[in-house]
């Protein structure tokens, strides 16, 4: 069961059982009863599934992953550039 979407918490109810989340401009209420007390705050990113907050998204880890991807892209660009130069050196049309 996997369709879960990242959303941002914009409001938490007083009794902390519900919160309001925003996903790309669409807002809905979500249930907090699966989360430990005091663990979710406004501004947090959370994973939403069938109307419940399933877990908080670890921002540091997310940014670390994105950084990894940036590096792998740079590596690929570097390799492509080197390959392009190599191909050019071996170009038969000159």
């Amino acid at each position: 069961m996997c369709l879960s979407i990242p959303s941002r918490v914009v409001n938490v109810s007083e009794d902390r059982t519900m919160c309001r989340v925003d996903t790309m401009g669409v807002q809905r209420d979500a249930n907090l009863m699966m989360m430990a007390e005091e663990s979710i705050e406004v501004g947090d990113y959370v994973l939403l599934h069938i109307g419940f907050v399933m877990n908080k998204i670890d921002e540091a880890e997310a940014l670390a992953s994105i950084e990894t991807y940036r590096e792998i892209l740079e590596l690929m660009d570097e390799e492509e550039r080197r390959q392009a130069i190599l191909d050019d050196d071996h170009c038969e049309n000159r």
Partner: protein, 381 residues
């Protein structure tokens, strides 16, 4: 490091160039593999991602996918779908379930068919909607037909919790929750017994994304340790999938066999402890639960604890619910597909007699089913 924006959580994990970069890396690493490897993605959501984003088109031939049975609708045996049908046909019942469930055919028809015959069948986006339905219809019995793996089980538990706390007299439950590790064991064991060549051996697992959010990655410990199969718990965006596959390939070329987490932004070793406690409070394992096509997978099913019999539709309606096992249509090979022994195009009725709008087997009905994914996305492979 700059701040994280919501957009990043979508776009960066779907970026085309990153996908291509991983494809190149995997291709380079795969050259060092000693033999082809078979990766089973357990979860239907992963099957969907792999097929929809055409990932097999980007990977070398030495990497093969075996599609797992991680589709909670697909694995429902016909007799339990018949339970839903029969309960729905009771005049005092409003049967409530999640989306795809209403299209799966049992031996008498699907819930959609029951609805066309006058039964009150509703699908909801969240189980909590049952409460409003129950309050609006005090004269009716609302039966929540609960399905799903560990991901959705805690939500059913919260609903039960609230039903008891708010003293709602007219909500009952029919529980069909199943768990993942037991079926993974069954799939490995049955192969070790039946299949000789490693054409069909499962070499590694792409671990489910959101089951793991709830249960923690700890539930997969035994696979590298006792079964020699690496597990990489992976997210369901295409970049996640490619990174997860890359991590598996690396394990093979570095001769490691470990449990790793790719989906670090939401999966931890321990998981969501409160959710686990809720599950423990209301459910216990049932020794006999038949998975469609796989037969009984011991200890993989959940049922309501005896203390909550008053809320258990299976107990209250015991007299009208059949227990005889119903076999699938002869030509349907959903069982083999759920085991990962066959791929959908190998089924003789795939795409002809069995199509999304006239499904014979459940793998075609559910949007996470392998057959449905292949039908929708697989023709260009």
């Amino acid at each position: 490091m700059k701040a994280l924006e919501l957009k990043n959580l979508y776009d960066d994990f779907r970026d085309g160039k990153t996908i291509q970069a991983y494809a190149k890396r995997i291709a380079a690493d795969a050259k060092k593999l000693k033999r082809p490897i078979n990766i089973m993605e357990v979860c239907g959501g992963h099957t969907h991602t792999i097929m929809k984003f055409g990932l097999p088109q980007l990977l070398p031939e030495t990497i093969n996918f075996i599609h797992g049975p991680g589709c909670p609708v697909c694995i429902m045996p016909k007799e339990r779908i018949d339970h839903a049908y029969l309960l729905a046909m009771q005049p005092e019942v409003i049967l409530v379930t999640l989306g795809d469930m209403i299209k799966v055919p049992g031996s008498r028809g699907s819930l959609q068919d029951a609805r066309a015959k006058g039964a009150d069948v509703r699908f909801v986006y969240s189980p909590m909607e049952c409460i409003a339905i129950a309050q609006a219809h005090p004269d009716k019995k609302i039966i929540f037909f609960a399905i799903g793996f560990e991901t959705t089980t805690p939500m059913s538990a919260v609903l039960i919790d609230q039903v008891i706390a708010l003293n709602i007299p007219n909500i009952l439950f029919h529980i069909n929750h199943v768990t993942v590790p037991e079926v993974m064991v069954e799939l490995i064991d049955s192969r070790d017994v039946h299949v000789d060549s490693y054409n069909n051996q499962i070499d590694a697992f792409l671990g489910p994304s959101h089951v793991s959010v709830i249960s923690g990655s700890k539930i997969y410990e035994k696979f590298p340790k006792a079964y020699g199969r690496p597990v990489v718990v992976t997210g369901f965006e295409p970049v996640d999938a490619m990174e997860g596959i890359s991590m598996i390939v690396k394990q093979f070329i570095e001769e490691r066999c470990e449990l790793e987490i790719q989906y670090k932004r939401v999966v931890s070793y321990e998981g969501n402890l409160k959710a686990q406690a809720l599950i423990e409070k209301y459910f216990e394992k049932v020794s006999l639960f038949r998975w469609r096509g796989l037969g009984n997978v011991p200890d993989s099913g959940l049922k309501l604890r005896e203390a909550f019999d008053a809320y258990n539709a299976e107990v209250i309606y015991r007299d009208i619910l059949p227990i005889a096992q119903i076999e699938d249509h002869q030509l349907c090979i959903c069982g083999d597909i759920l085991r990962g022994i066959a791929k959908p195009p190998e089924c003789t009725i795939f795409g002809t007699a069995c199509r999304p709008n006239s499904p014979v087997g459940s793998c075609m009905v559910s949007s996470e089913g392998a057959c449905s994914a292949y039908y929708k996305y697989g023709n260009l492979l």
